[in-house]
Symmetry: D2
Subunit: 309 residues, 4 copies
């Protein structure tokens, strides 16, 4: 099957009967109110083709997918200095575990578990007020997606702020080890707001295209990062992008990807395409059940697995 629109459509069709499966994230109250019967796909190729199916233009809370973009920003600010504060290894633990943080003296295992992303937010915050840092992140994502309408869902941000005790614990725990330079509430303000950014599959696939395309955005022509940095971010996504289900995603799908508890997944086929899948129901690892299944089918039908055809 070589026509990509056909592939995207066939994946959607083959899974349409399962729409609504999985379990909504319930620890962020606002996310628990989302209609579970939604499913969207979008695919942007490195030569600028866009293919969508289903609810590809409905906005959803990107949650942890935003960590890919804040990591990109933080690397732009301090480069490899980031790795003094955050590791690059899979965690072997749940996304919000604090055990590892105690054993490794406040250094999070990687930038995609919560603690690591909070440290990344601390880097993005440097020299700014929280409001400015949040603004910078939103502007960066708008630039990547070439879409000025992308915005924060403030109900979601507020919902997290009120219930995110575990993240408050993680931030203060890191601070007790000297691995946080700003007050925890400022850093978490940045963190909760970038997690609350709302995007559609189309916008997300567009925004991630620089990772598929050696660091450049082929639609705008602009360079976002070096090809080496794009490659390394992809490596981090593959190793750590799905929490304690990262191995399973690599095994089944074979593409670098980053999921969010809002039900979205951004996957990268290096040299080929950026792909966004979304459906709110989650599997036992907290990753989109239908989104994972869609990417598995899509990788099979395109032969895009990085591990061979």
């Amino acid at each position: 099957m070589t026509d990509l629109q056909d592939v995207v459509d066939s994946v959607y069709q083959d899974l349409a009967s399962r729409i609504g499966e999985g379990k909504l994230a319930d620890y962020i109250p606002e996310l628990a109110t989302v209609d579970p019967k939604q499913f969207g796909l979008a695919l942007c190729t490195v030569d600028g083709q866009v293919h969508t199916s289903g609810d590809a233009d409905t906005s959803f809370s990107i949650q942890s997918i935003s960590k890919v973009f804040t990591l990109t920003l933080a690397l732009g600010k301090i480069g490899d200095g980031l790795w003094k504060r955050v590791g690059r290894e899979p965690s072997g633990n749940a996304f919000n575990s604090i055990v590892q943080l105690e054993q490794e003296k406040g250094k999070p295992r990687n930038p995609f578990i919560n603690a690591g992303a909070i440290a990344v937010a601390d880097v993005v915050l440097a020299g700014h007020l929280p409001k400015e840092a949040i603004g910078e992140i939103v502007q960066f994502i708008r630039y990547l997606a070439d879409d000025e309408t992308i915005a924060i869902d403030h109900d979601v941000a507020r919902s997290e702020t009120n219930t995110g005790y575990r993240n408050v614990a993680l931030a203060n725990f890191m601070r007790s080890f000297g691995n946080l330079n700003h007050p925890a509430e400022h850093v978490l303000g940045v963190y909760f707001h970038h997690c609350a950014i709302a995007m559609s599959c189309r916008q997300l696939a567009h925004a991630g295209l620089y990772l598929a395309s050696a660091g450049r955005n082929p639609l705008s022509g602009g360079s976002v990062v070096s090809s080496g940095r794009a490659r390394r971010i992809n490596a981090l996504m593959l190793m750590c992008g799905h929490y304690d289900g990262s191995g399973d995603f690599a095994y089944r799908v074979g593409l670098p990807g980053k999921s969010g508890v809002g039900g979205g997944i951004l996957a990268i086929a290096p040299g080929k395409a950026s792909i966004a899948a979304w459906s709110p129901g989650l599997n036992e690892n907290g990753n989109s059940l239908l989104g994972s299944a869609a990417l598995e089918l899509l990788a099979q039908r395109t032969g895009w697995s990085v591990f061979g055809q």
Copy 2:
């Protein structure tokens, strides 16, 4: 640089001044006696070209690299049933840690940490005497490498048998959870012997070629595994092949790989080539220091990283 022989030679030359760096494995007495000043590279392409440099024809103890081949055998025997007994996630711990095993009730995180490979050996042993199972593994590797001279180094096997208390602990611990079907000493007999197989870089690159080539051995023309299985083994190698340094290897090199404490590394560039690097000195994660550096350079110069050019 497009001539692969030139690439292999240039990598060797650029690192030649560092030969001898790193630390020999010392917990297996026989390995501590190896001359550290050795360094070899071999690369087999999917169209059958072979390129070598340095000590590419010197045999060394493949140690944990053998786990790739026993995994292939065990999947051939019981297929996905294996995943009831062994997980597919990175461990986030040292290669011989027992902590994870207690927390997850005797199920090892993946087939490449010691506990997982012991469970795999238990599968290969089913219906056989230990001697027969060891023979089957050796025959399989000879077939893959098309070389009947490959053999076990019995001094190394004996060296491990006498000192491998930690592995005896792991095996009995799994058995206490019912995740070992044969007596621990039988399973460890198989395990210690397959780890003690000696191969050269040339033989190893040849033996791994099926993983680069959709499951078929292009030199002999035979099919070893399905293309899907080759892909999935590659995924496991990338996620878990370098113990607690897997993330770092993915970040720097970007190829599925499996290291052994004998100083060897087998790396796979899917659709391109199988590559073996060897130098006995290890880095702090227990992976070949020069071997890792060689593969990093080689991936850069060939553009073969699975994460993009």
Copy 3:
């Protein structure tokens, strides 16, 4: 040696040459400024005799010793209901470890590790403003010591408030599991202030006398708790009163005791006496080095070990 004043004096004399040994607590800045060359002892018998030696009338920060008094208050408020929220087992971990808290879903192991004492403060806070709860604790201790001059050292309280990130983490972590009913900053306000209460050895020995005397204060004649409750608080002190050095204290001294990082220790000889020792230098477990040594000698010379003569 039967004259208790002679015992107290001899213990002081035998250790006087070591005054200044140990390491000041440095994680609370205000405590790091204390003169380390101080050493005091006070002993109150159940029949109302008081014996002191050295700096027995110098006030110091009682820190975690205050947890004995807040535990007594919390048990008075909700009785055995407390044990739904806090365990009664030794922790096998450092005093501020968060690992156990994750494994046991937010329930601290005992009321004397930081997390447990924070949960106890949450109980004392119920129905009050933080200021009122703090006032109640101070009044209770003044009543126990029969001394209205006992007060909070606000410099110390402020010093902890500014640096207590680890405790903020613990509190929020418990709150994420639903094991904290009030805002973390309110509970920690109570916690930091009761830890900052300043007392002399004389006052402390007097205040703890109810635990030696079946729950009654023999000096005032009043009943504080039932004899059964006094006995059980003593059991908790013996099992958990010295963090990860509790076993060592039981082995060497053989008396229920509670230490604080200010260098104080309150020890109870049931049916005999309440004893306070203080010297700011700490041993590797964070307990007063000279205080521990003094209590070991005193237990030997009086034969008061609960484990036999």
Copy 4:
């Protein structure tokens, strides 16, 4: 109530209706075949009185209670040198956990968890054949109980030998850290056999009397250990004698004690008496359900809690 025979009888009567409660140990097959409807009590005072009730003369498998006697022997052999190999702190973990052992590099937390008792057996074994060491332990216990009929239940010993994979793991794990001087199978031979010693409540209370009586056996007049050593063994029993239920036992009963999965408990009232309780059904911590309840009542009615009346 001052007549001790009345106390013992009343405790038995008050619990008789609950005989059979609890769960038999099932991980040692031979123990799972014991009749659960048995309950015995025996109490020896330091002045040589013996009081019993119920099945006080029925032999049962003392299991971990034997660790008190092997600890006494090992201290006799190498004194405080033992504490280089074994700690003295509660474990905060299950009796057969291996996690702590990895974190603390092969040094068990205390001599009463399995790993610690295996290290103790290694000390007793020094200079002997396993058979001789076992013989020495049996002779020592016969001497303590003044009863030559005490013997090993070889069916139980065999039952453990065949299924004790977890203990094999612990022993080899310690050996991998250099904390075992003899082959694991020799040490475990000693360990499994001393755990399989069978004794009645009457014999056990008699054997433990030296701990209640300052190290001397008042019935025979002989000195077993110094008074200081008896005191310290009592401290260890209180802190660590009931695995992860030690805190609960101290809180409820308030006496040093050591339990075994055969349903027996030896408790010491220093200066007063040695007490043995036995009933095979266990509570959730693996300690005798009725035995614990009996000792709680007995401590209440005698006022013998070490924590006050």
